[in-house]
Symmetry: C2
Subunit: 383 residues, 2 copies
């Protein structure tokens, strides 16, 4: 059901001809109201794609009527012409829907440094508007796929109101296609300040802690649109938890579909002095190529975990560190712990616990192993 699970939304996903392989490549999500509140978070990469610059701008009003998303081209590093193309796309959507262009967010995903085929994209907008449907969420989720092997959707329904969403990508930077895009919708009746607060709180502990390959996109965008169509205004805490749950579910789906990956690795840092310490340590472990290779080889190589921890500024004493892999404490007090042969690594999910013995804070980062398939897919991408 995706973005149309919540009342007050229609969506479409079509073939505009942007992708040469004829797959769906244009999605449209429309908020039919009565409310049109919205919030968004964007990549912190300082090299931002044209659609990110545009959407950040229009989101300042806290109001969106529609989101147009294309796969098949990131429209990043495309200069003034690229920005004009994004603007023209929003204008086209606005014209056909009868709203203002300033209420239309634009998202793009695909190769960096290539202009979009506007002669295909603009007619595609008309086609998409013609196919808008209250049941269009699934098709929209399919149309934003790039190298994703499956489309990703999630829905949480509470007492009279719903949060739903769709996502594409695989980690901070989808290997090869450079973008994670997420559109969330709700029929809860909330203003944009509440949406913004809930969305930032949710992304901070979900998408921000998915780190497939350490590479940050120029196009990452997460939008949350509220229609108010349920006529229910939930408690903020309950709403925030629903948004977090949908973000968490979609984040897990991104990790499970990361290109070339054979393992999903949950890096749980415990007993840190601060949450920031826990995140820094978790990210350092998650980005260690040697560890990621070792996990691929089903090798519980805890020395590489300690090497990664040692590069951080977190509070810890080396001789108090403990590491468990899949429940076996292979490192105790900074040295050899339980027998590493006890670690069973046959399954796709691998759980690493790093105990800093320095406090009581915790954080979990999700990543993948590093595989020859990742190298193959990303060495053969644009050429």
């Amino acid at each position: 059901m995706s973005v149309t699970a919540a009342k007050g939304f229609t969506a479409a996903g079509i073939v505009a001809g942007i992708k040469e392989n004829g797959n769906p490549d244009l999605a449209l999500v429309v908020n039919t109201g009565p409310r049109r509140a919205a919030a968004g978070v964007f990549t912190s990469n300082r090299v931002k794609a044209a659609p990110v610059l545009w959407s950040e701008q229009v989101l300042k009003s806290g109001r969106l009527s529609a989101v147009i998303l294309n796969s098949g081209g990131a429209n990043a590093c495309t200069g003034p012409k690229g920005f004009q193309d994004t603007h023209a796309t929003a204008e086209k959507v606005a014209d056909v829907l009868g709203v203002g262009a300033g209420e239309v967010a634009v998202c793009s995903t695909g190769l960096i440094g290539v202009l979009l085929p506007m002669d295909k994209l603009l007619p595609g907008v008309e086609t998409a508007v013609g196919q808008l449907s209250e049941h269009g969420g699934e098709k929209a989720a399919i149309a934003i796929k790039t190298t994703d092997t499956v489309h990703k959707t999630s829905v949480v329904t509470k007492d009279g109101w719903t949060v739903g969403g769709m996502a594409k990508g695989a980690g901070m930077l989808a290997p090869g296609l450079a973008t994670m895009l997420v559109v969330l919708t709700t029929d809860a009746d909330l203003d944009s300040d509440a949406l913004d607060k809930a969305l930032r709180a949710a992304t901070k502990v979900t998408f921000d802690r998915v780190d497939s390959d350490g590479c940050m996109s120029t196009n990452d965008t997460v939008l949350l649109l509220a229609s108010g169509a349920s006529e229910v205004t939930p408690e903020y805490a309950e709403f925030a938890e629903a948004v977090r749950a949908v973000c968490d579910d979609l984040g897990q789906q991104l990790i499970r579909d990361a290109e070339g990956a054979s393992k999903d690795i949950k890096v749980e840092v415990i007993n840190a002095a601060t949450e920031d310490d826990a995140v820094e340590v978790g990210r350092s472990i998650a980005r260690n190529n040697l560890l990621k290779c070792a996990i691929h080889g089903e090798d519980p190589n805890w020395g590489r975990v300690l090497s990664a921890i040692g590069t951080t500024s977190a509070a810890f004493e080396p001789d108090r560190l403990n590491v468990a892999i899949n429940g076996v404490w292979v490192c105790k007090n900074g040295g050899v712990g339980e027998d590493r042969d006890k670690v069973d690594m046959r399954y796709r999910e691998v759980h690493i616990v790093a105990d800093l013995a320095a406090g009581s804070e915790t954080a979990t980062i999700w990543t993948n192993d590093l595989t020859a398939d990742y190298v193959h897919e990303n060495s053969a991408y644009s050429s």
Copy 2:
């Protein structure tokens, strides 16, 4: 000639039986004087191997008579017993040579979390002392190899004095074996303060800018020993330049022998506001797995260079960035530049220039491509 190119040094490299495959695994370098000045730089990883903790301590005197180096075991994360083993090794060398243990540095390389076979190592020390020779530099360089395919040595001879050295490893963390070890010797007559200054200046712009896989070792050590046997005290600037040249040469040899690599990538950042900015940007580019995969595929994917630059805090404007790959300015003013098909990437060395257009500082970081061979070698290492 390696560490015995300079007068006043003897060396040996032998099979002690630490490595199960019967390859040489123990090296000894002795300073026969008359001076025994020394300096060292060590890994900044906070999880330090026992030999690093020991050698940092003994270097505080600015004096070394000998360096004992073993391959076949890193003696990292081995607790109090590991430190006792390092201490016992230094004591053994000191006993046989008739010097103090506080004048003996210890270096180890190999798997983390495994105790060394002292029953083999200690008798090996006696064997090594028996084979010390003014021509032993080559054998010492061979005995510190782990997964290195070639041994690495370098010599610069000036007017009456020499700086020579040996190295092992492949990048910040030798893939699989976790250590870069370097021993430099000189017969120049200089005190430990001058050695320390020259060594820190040299490593800052050489080894510190070799970043094969972004992973920092628990064992990295670079030592510089001076015998004074030439009876020449060179100008400091000339000496510092010779040390830099030897470090640069050895650093290049590490990159060319990086495990699994098929390309050596020179990342040159120009027109940065500060040298720190240039280093930060260079390292961000050098550590970008997607770019490293693209280079492996001979794909001049400049969008990935811009993505990497965008994650830094360096001063730049996105629409003023320029990127050249092998001499072709494929990105100009943050957008599409010259035809990417003009880029010839058939050769092993790839030269990326990132022009930040923000000042006049520069820095060069060396890295490698990311290959399926790297994954294979590092997924099958300890198991």
